[in-house]
């Protein structure tokens, strides 16, 4: 399998501290890879190494199958990035900021209008960035990262400082990229809900180590859901289901059904209806991903 990004045993040491330790990251084409971890876990350091801003202490990075050490310029020509806070020149207008990059990248001027349109900054193109709100600066940062029509887009905390509508907008935009432009996206965040709504694959890092890397579905399975039933006469219902060999619990007026296959739920409902019990609610109870995430990052390695 050919990966777009592949790191092997990537480590970075700052003085005595190992910021990143033996990281193996694998990102396939067309994925939205959610790079998740608490603040200070080594996400940004990893991203900086991917972009050639920092040299790894040890380990190897291959992007598009090429080694970053030897092919840095070739690789970066096909990568767009937004690292931490957006970088811009406040004394220049939005257009001039993009123009400054465009001259180096060498794409046609038309592309500037395209990316401004994508992030909806067309109207303020000729205003100085100094006066922009944080959200607008963030959007400008995303516009900058899209300027060279990258095949790999690396976004570090892209929804930082955005208001809810801005967050949704950026999220929708990011979701569109793989299909419409064939991009692969690496997006880092310390917020699981953020990643949960966008990513197809998740890598969780804590204290510089990757502790989980798999599809978001696998991660959701780990969330292990149960079905809760609210019925009249819970006690009676519980006994009935138990008598029929189901794994159920009775807690505070709710029946918790631990096997949640469709057949099992249907069977349980049928039994209850036949016993003339009223069913008020059937709900899926998820152990929130937030909980899993917290327990994983606390214990260092849960998987």
């Amino acid at each position: 399998m050919e990966y777009i990004v592949e790191t092997s045993n990537l480590s970075k040491r700052f003085g005595k501290d190992l910021a990143v330790e033996g990281l193996n990251m694998k990102i396939s084409k067309g994925e939205i890879y959610g790079f998740l971890g608490p603040n200070g876990a080594g996400k940004t350091t990893t991203i900086r190494m991917l972009l050639g801003l920092m040299k790894p202490t040890s380990g190897r990075i291959r992007i598009f199958g090429q080694d970053i050490k030897q092919q840095r310029k070739n690789i970066l020509a096909k990568v767009g990035s937004l690292v931490e806070n957006p970088s811009y020149y406040p004394h220049l207008t939005a257009y001039e900021n993009l123009e400054a990059l465009r001259k180096i990248i060498g794409v046609p001027k038309q592309r500037i209008y395209e990316v401004l349109e994508i992030v909806r900054l067309t109207e303020v193109a000729d205003k100085k960035v100094k006066g922009f709100s944080l959200g607008m600066k963030q959007r400008l940062g995303i516009a900058m990262s899209l300027l060279n029509q990258p095949q790999l887009l690396i976004l570090d905390e892209p929804t930082n400082g955005l208001d809810p509508s801005g967050i949704i907008e950026i999220r929708e935009l990011i979701k569109r990229l793989p299909e419409e432009f064939g991009m692969t996206v690496l997006i880092s965040s310390h917020l699981l809900t953020e990643i949960d709504q966008m990513a197809t694959t998740v890598g969780i890092v804590t204290k510089g180590k990757m502790i989980f890397q798999d599809s978001i579905e696998t991660m959701r399975t780990l969330a292990g859901h149960a079905i809760s039933l609210k019925v009249s006469q819970a006690e009676q219902a519980w006994r009935l289901l138990l008598a029929n060999g189901m794994k159920v619990e009775h807690e505070s007026g709710l029946i918790m059904l631990h096997e949640s296959s469709n057949e099992m739920v249907a069977e349980a409902v049928r039994l209850l209806v036949q016993a003339n019990l009223s069913i008020y609610r059937v709900e899926e109870e998820k152990r929130s991903l937030e909980d899993i995430f917290l327990s994983m990052t606390r214990e260092d390695s849960a998987v």
Binding site: L51, K55, N74, L76, V83, S87, E99, L101, K103, I104
Partner: protein, 235 residues
């Protein structure tokens, strides 16, 4: 490289770079306007060759303006990238770090060179206005306008290096201030100090030595600065 420099020229827009480029030579000549305006008769009595004496008067302040200008320019150009840490954006583009550094150096060298041309023109203009008896000493005029520039290249290379690698802009400003003080007291400095060179003074009384030293050591310091810049991680 051309596109990199175009980008850098775009970035220095509205930051007062061009204003300073003009202000430097105007300031130097303006000081002599005051000087000659107040006591022209006295000054004309001071020497046999009024044109040369006038050029020497001008050249007293040229090194000071140069070193001060270098300190301000280098700190400014670094602060443009430092302000929002645009280094990370810039370096993650498909450009070599050497090119980034070379472009900054070249831009500043260009601006200072333009300053030197302006200095020559302004000096010439005011000299003609003063209507000295002697013919215009063209070669001396060129020498006094451009020799200090070449002799100041090591200071430019050093200040750019310090400014680009310091996270705290207090560091280059401090070295810049010391540079200006050194340039001001050039006559008492030993010959090996680079801040003395723009004054064109040396024990052999041969300004050309300062020019050659400036070019040589300037190149050396430039290469050292560039290599150090490429070696460092971008935060």
């Amino acid at each position: 490289m051309i596109s990199m420099m175009q980008t850098d020229f775009l970035k220095i827009k509205r930051k007062g770079f061009w204003f300073l480029t003009f202000l430097g030579p105007i300031g130097v000549v303006a000081l002599q306007m005051v000087n000659y305006g107040v006591r022209k008769e006295y000054l004309l009595q001071q020497s046999e060759n009024d044109w040369l004496y006038y050029l020497q008067n001008i050249s007293v302040f040229t090194p000071l303006a140069l070193v001060l200008g270098i300190a301000i320019f280098t700190s400014f150009i670094a602060s443009i990238e430092n302000e929002t840490n645009a280094w990370k954006q810039l370096i993650s583009l498909p450009v070599s770090k050497m090119m980034v550094y070379l472009s900054k150096f070249t831009i500043l060298a260009c601006l200072l060179f333009i300053s030197s041309i302006l200095l020559m023109l302004f000096t010439l203009g005011f000299g003609i206005f003063l209507s000295f008896d002697e013919a215009i000493p063209w070669w001396e005029l060129v020498k006094y306008s451009f020799y200090p520039y070449f002799a100041a290249l090591p200071v430019l290379a050093l200040q750019l290096w310090i400014a680009t690698v310091s996270k705290n802009q207090g560091v280059p400003i401090t070295t810049g201030i010391f540079g200006v003080i050194f340039a001001y007291s050039a006559y008492m400095l030993p010959d090996w100090m680079i801040w003395k060179w723009p004054s064109l003074m040396n024990q052999w009384d041969e300004p050309l030595i300062n020019v050659l030293l400036g070019l040589g050591v300037g190149c050396l310091l430039y290469v050292m600065g560039m290599l150090d810049f490429t070696r460092r991680d971008v935060k």
